[in-house]
Structure formats: structure tokens, C-alpha cells
Subunit: 482 residues, 2 copies
Amino acid sequence: MSENEQVTYIEAKKSENFSEWYQQALVRSGFIDYSDVSGMIVFLPPAYFAWQEIMRAVDSEFRKVGIEDTYFPMLIPERLLEKEKEHLKGFIPEVAWVTETGNTKLEEKLAIRPTSETIMYKSYSKWIRSWRDLPLKYNQWNNVLRWEFKHPTPFIRTREFLWNEGHSVFATEEEASTERDVILNIYNSVLKDYLALPGIVGMKSDNEKFAGAVASYSIEHVMPDGWAIQGPDFHNDGQNFSKAFEIKFLDKDNNTKYAYQNTFAITTRELGVMAATHGDDKGLVIPPKLAYIQVIIVPIYKKDNHDKVNAYVKKVYDSLKSKFRVKIDDREGYSPGFKFNEWELKGVPIRIEIGERDIAADSATCVRRDTGEKMSSKIDSIEMTISEGLENMHINMYQKALKFLESKIHKASTYEEFKKLLKENGGIIAAPWCGSGECELKIKEENGTKITNIPLQQEEHGGECVYCGKKSEYTANFAKSY
Amino acid sequence: MSENEQVTYIEAKKSENFSEWYQQALVRSGFIDYSDVSGMIVFLPPAYFAWQEIMRAVDSEFRKVGIEDTYFPMLIPERLLEKEKEHLKGFIPEVAWVTETGNTKLEEKLAIRPTSETIMYKSYSKWIRSWRDLPLKYNQWNNVLRWEFKHPTPFIRTREFLWNEGHSVFATEEEASTERDVILNIYNSVLKDYLALPGIVGMKSDNEKFAGAVASYSIEHVMPDGWAIQGPDFHNDGQNFSKAFEIKFLDKDNNTKYAYQNTFAITTRELGVMAATHGDDKGLVIPPKLAYIQVIIVPIYKKDNHDKVNAYVKKVYDSLKSKFRVKIDDREGYSPGFKFNEWELKGVPIRIEIGERDIAADSATCVRRDTGEKMSSKIDSIEMTISEGLENMHINMYQKALKFLESKIHKASTYEEFKKLLKENGGIIAAPWCGSGECELKIKEENGTKITNIPLQQEEHGGECVYCGKKSEYTANFAKSY
């Protein structure tokens, strides 16, 4: 190893110490770094790029269904935050307050938005007058702040995070309710097609729903340690906010009515789920569509063949650069082996190795990050090799993640079984539940599990609530959860 | 006028009461709205769309020159903000401080970023170790907050605004200095090609340079009222920050050296300059590339021909929708005249009118927003008509803006002439200046003008400083400025 080769590899094993592995994989790969503010991270170029691509993908789907992007102020006056009581109660403990500017004390405290219902709906109440103004479907891509005191974890629990917040308004309850599947399908498709992540779509229990919502829905993931984690969500707010903020309109029949509202979000937390799900002991494995660099070319020099190798490498690069995000690693003073390890750590989907033997055979050696599979490809067909390689890699990553998720869901029909499965397998326990918050809380108390969600696709079920034995209403998913 | 037709047109005339006109044009067109927080506005979809396109255009140029996007925390600990004294002095009066979270007082105040030098450079000092780590060229697209007490004006002076902040680090002064023209050219091209805005590129005087910079450069505009306004800027920070933040590296010759740094930004203020420059008494005129809706189709119905008109309109829409951002305004209960006015208020580049006569002639009437010019186009060639119309509109808007800018620059060789020109013509007075801050401040005191910048393209000049009569160093641009 040369004197320059000072990259620190990951020491922790994913299977042994997931939490330590996760942080090492993110930081040592140059995906993120910690900052001087506790609970806030720096998104390095590969992380911010992935987020930009997620924004683009979601935004393009939003546009198709008439959702438009806006930008509202990041500060919210205290009096607005206080308008919807449930909402306030949910967020007030985590609000960061601006109380001074320059050397002057403000007369009214201003909250850094933890979410923007209150500032947006104040405007909505001014803009919405008649049924002609509905539906109104506005979205924002922005940063929000929630001063949590739990142990911070990059992406998973950070005090500042980036997200979309969609806030739509409808004339009728029916219209509002049809938006749910549209939005959850968009999120689900982006998770599958870009992040290679599966999830479980379901309804939140009353105890777990959003502060201010009538009903909440979520897509839930399971992390490698078997704990569940909430992904994108959708909230049906009914008339809770429209009544608090006086969002009224004159209907076609000339009656004044309160509007119906929904909100929905996908956050940078998904980057954490992505990194956690796909990574291995060598480092990150980034899904091809979100990879800042998709293909890294590593020249393998011998004495006196630098010019020859470089010319060949340049030819390969030129044939790929218009279609892929490709880079040549021709740094001097680093061995090929060192470079291989470094790009594996960063999770670059395909590595192309080019040495004397490849040149002689008019080919190149392509190595897939997810499987380590080596493919020798003729130069003439290398674009196709890479294209298929990336596609297959995406499919493989999704299938592997889906398999893992499925392996982490177990059905219990009795409380004994519930406890046994939870202890032995962790993950999600799908169990019949009577629908009462009391049983839910008792189960939580006794097992540390909450209801992640109640899957929308309910398999036929009968049986009795695992806790109280009364007739079950749903099969609900219980899990220890981030 | 029907009962629904309640849009309020602009009452103020641009030439008579620019400031009132500006606010009416922005708000009544639905481009922005005021919010419940003083000095902060809501970007409505047409405004945020324009900003997204500007981000995309700048980002794509940044990518070509190796500038990468990142995201750093929005909060900065007080101790970091204090590290560079000049910088601190410049920003501290406008900083918004977070002092409480939930119900707890923070031990250390946190500033909402007014700009991110201090938080970024703390990380830079950790990341940069050797010449191999340089150049490092990171950018952020984010929101910043400056609690100004001057009268707020949408986009032009708002307490929160959106921008890019580029922060690059180089091993040598020479390398750092070559970045200036690269960046200023990118900004200038985007202003010209997207916003149809001309500007004057020049160096800031020492009095006006950025807090912490060695030299600052800017692109300056002139607003319709003859006042200058600063656009994008570029700062050569020399080693000021690298010394304050210990950004050191081991050079090839094994010596430890301080790095050289630059910063640069374009902000949402440009949306205000754009609206102000191009708008007229009917409302906004949005440059075609930034228009959320580029083409609005207004069907003109007669009794009993709705189906016929709608079918024809649909055909025209279908032939345009893949290439342009096009919309049909088929709202009932509004007259064509009302619709024309409303879309003119919003600044939509081209209106297509389709009535019985157009259908009979297999054509459509296309009306350009900037000139009011009507073009009848056969349906077969309408894509070409629109394409050329938008292109010509952009060129015309830029030329008109350039002509206006040129008409607002006057040369003075004596102080008498300076005062006379300023009084009679406003705008920019280009005058020989000795380079001393004293003369600059005296001129400011006596005329309310500052040096906007010292154009990089200095025409041959001689003569004496208009104020002190000593040999002039530069021709500097003086103006009353926003």
C-alpha cells in the first residue's frame, strides 16, 4: 500500500453491529458527514444528487396529476401555530424558536417550520373563495426542523431534513379521499423504481396518526436490524384544518362550506433506508438511477504501457459518457486494489477494469457492485453490457430487498405466538387486532412494539384480537420501530 | 362582465408609480403573495417554476465545470459565526437567532444561515489535507435569512430568499482567480438566455465589497425607475477564511499552505428584476423559457358551436403539448375579453384565439404578449409559428432591456456634469474616479449614489477624478441603488 492510501474501510460488520456499520458506511464512503450542529448532517455530492433525482422523479409524477410547486416562508408566527390544537400539541415540543434578530428581541416568537400547514393554510383561507378555486393542490420542496431529543441517526432521525410537503384542498370528502391511492402509488413507484425499496402500504392506528389528521397512511420499511421504519405518508385531514383556518368556499348551490384537505410527504430519511437496505460489509450499494457515478473505469497499468492504456480507456469512456454517469480513476500513486475498494465503499454500481489483457482481447472487464459478478465485454457492445448490467442490478437489488422484507413479516394468531415470533425473529408481527387503542397500548407497553400500520391489502382474516380475545377488526402490523 | 369576472387589474402605471405598479403586477397576477411574516413572500407556482428553471440552467453549467451540489445545516453555532471578524461584522446585525427549542433555552445560540461560509469552512478544514483534495468546488441551493429593517420589497429585499452559494477552494491564487470569469460568464449567460436580462459586469469598490472578501465582482442591473440593483456576485476571498478556519493542505513540495477561496451566488432577487424590467401596464411579461404556461388557448364560442370549437381546440392543443407548456382556458362564465386580460396580467407569452372564423380558415390567431402582434397561422404550421414566436419574443425582450440599460448609462467627466446627469436622467453615471474611498463616500454623501461597480471592460479613459481632480484610476459606475 502506498503512502497515499489512507482511506479507512468499514470495520463494523452489518450483521453484527448494524448501527455502527450504518454510520461508518455513510461517513467513510463520503456520502455524508457530521456537522458542528448536533443532529444535523452534511449531504455530500452523492447524497444530494440522489435526493435531486428523487425530487425530479416525484415532481414529474406530481405534475401529471396537477400538483404544483410553491414556496412558503420558513418562519411561522406563534399565533398561527396555535390555531389547530392537536397539531400544536404534536409539534410544540420539537419547535426551534427564533426570539432575537440582530440585537433586538422579537415581539412575537417565530417557529422554524416543523411542517407548513399553519402558514400555508392562512394563505389558503385568503385564496379560496368559490368552488371554482378548487381543487387546489400545492406542494413544497423544502427544509424543516424538528428538535428531537432522541439519539440522532443520519437521515433516519435528524433535526433538519429535506422533504416534499403536499397540501391539497377539495370541495368534497369523496374527492379528497380518491387522492390517497394516487399519492401512495406515486411514492411507492418511486421507491421501487429509483431506490429499489419495497414497503408495506397501510393505515395508521388512531394512536399513531398525524397530529391534526382524521386518518393517516404510510409506507413502512424494515431495517436490517429488524426494526420497522416509517417511510412516506399521506394524511386525510378532513375539515380539521379548514375549520381552524376558516378555509371556506361558496359551493355551486351557493352554500358556504368548509373544504376537505390532505397532506403528504416523502423525506430524505429514504436515503438512509436505501443505504441501510442495500449496503454490505464493503460499503454502500447505490441503486443505479440514483448513483452520482454509475460507472468507474480503473486503468491497470504496467511499466511503460501508460499511454496505451490511457488511450484505450479514453475510447471506452467516450463511448459511454453520453449515456451514463462515468468517470475514470487515473489517480497516480494508488494501486488498482486500493481503487477497487474505495469505489466499492462508495457503492458505484459498475466498475470497469482495463489492463493489458483486456486491450489485447478488444474488451473490458465489468464488475457489478451488488453481486461482484465479473463480465468480460467486447468494446463494441460495452454500452449494451453496462445498460443491461445496471438494469439487472436494479432488479436484483429490489428483489433482494423484497425477499428480506417478506422474511421479516410473521403472522401470529395468539399473544404467545406474537411474543415468541417477536423475540426469535424480530421484524413485523402481523396479528389480528380488535381495533381498540387500549389493546394497542398494552401490547406496546409489554413488548415495545407499536402498530406500524394496518395493511390496506387485508388478507382474509378472522380470529380474535391477540390481546383481548374479542373479535378482530383488522390484521395489524406490530413492530419495534425507529 | 359576468358576475365571476372579479380579477382586479393593475391600477398603477409603471411609468408613474413604479413601486406600486411592481407590487400590483406581482400579486394580482398570482406570481407571488405576501405572507403573515413581514418581509417574507409566498412563491406561487409560476414564480417557483421560473426559479426551478433558473436552478436547472445554472446547475447544468456548474456541472460542466466540476462544481458539485451539497447540502449543509441551516443553523450555525454562534462560535463559528464569530471566527472571521469582517464577515461577522457584516452579517451580525441581520442574523435571526434560535435561542429556544420546545421549552428549553439553548446553551449556545444558533444563527439561521445568512450565508454558509462559516459552517461550510469548518467542514472544509477537516476534509482538506493534501493538494490531492484540491480544487474542491461545492455548491448549495438553499434558503437564507437576513433580518433587514429596510422597507421590504418582494424578491428585491426579502428577509428570506433562495439562492445558490458556491464555495470553492484552490491550492494557488492563480487558479482561484481564473474561476472568476468562468462563473460570471455562467451567470451572465443564464441572465441573457433565460431571463432576457442584460447586466454590467464589474468589480466592487473596497467600500462595497463582501464582508470577508479580498475583491468582489457583480453583475448590475438598472430598474425601470432608474435605480441600480445588484445581481449575481462573485467574491475572491483570498486566504481570509482559510486562515480563520485553518483550511490548510500539504502541497506537492511537502509544505503546509493555506488555501485560496472563492464564493458566488445568484438569488431569487433576479425574479424581481425580471418582472420589473419586462412588465407593462397590463401586467407581467414572462420570458418564454421561464413561463409556467407558454401558450394559452382561448376558445371563442358562439351559440351552439361549443362542440365544434372544443374539438378544434383539442386538436391544436394536442399538436402543441409535447413541445410547449400549453393550456386551454375553457372556463365557463367568463368572456374571451376577460380571459385575454387575465392571461396578459399573468404574462403568458403567446395567446391563441380560436373562433368560428379561424376554424373556417383552418387556422388560429396567435398573439404575442410583448408586442401585442397578431399572427394568423395555419394549423399545419402552428408548431413552427409558436416556436418562432417564442424565440423572437425572447430576443425582442432582451434587446429592449438592453436598449433601456444603455439609455440609463451616462458619462460624466466633471462633478457638475455628474450632478446634472444624475438629476436629469437618473440611472448610472460613469465617471473617472481616483480609487480613493474618501472621494467615493463624499460623492455618496452629497448625491446618495454609491459605486455599483467598476466595469471590467474599461474603455480607454483618462481625465481626473470627478471629485478630487487627481489622476483617475478607473471609470466607475455611480448610481442610486436598491
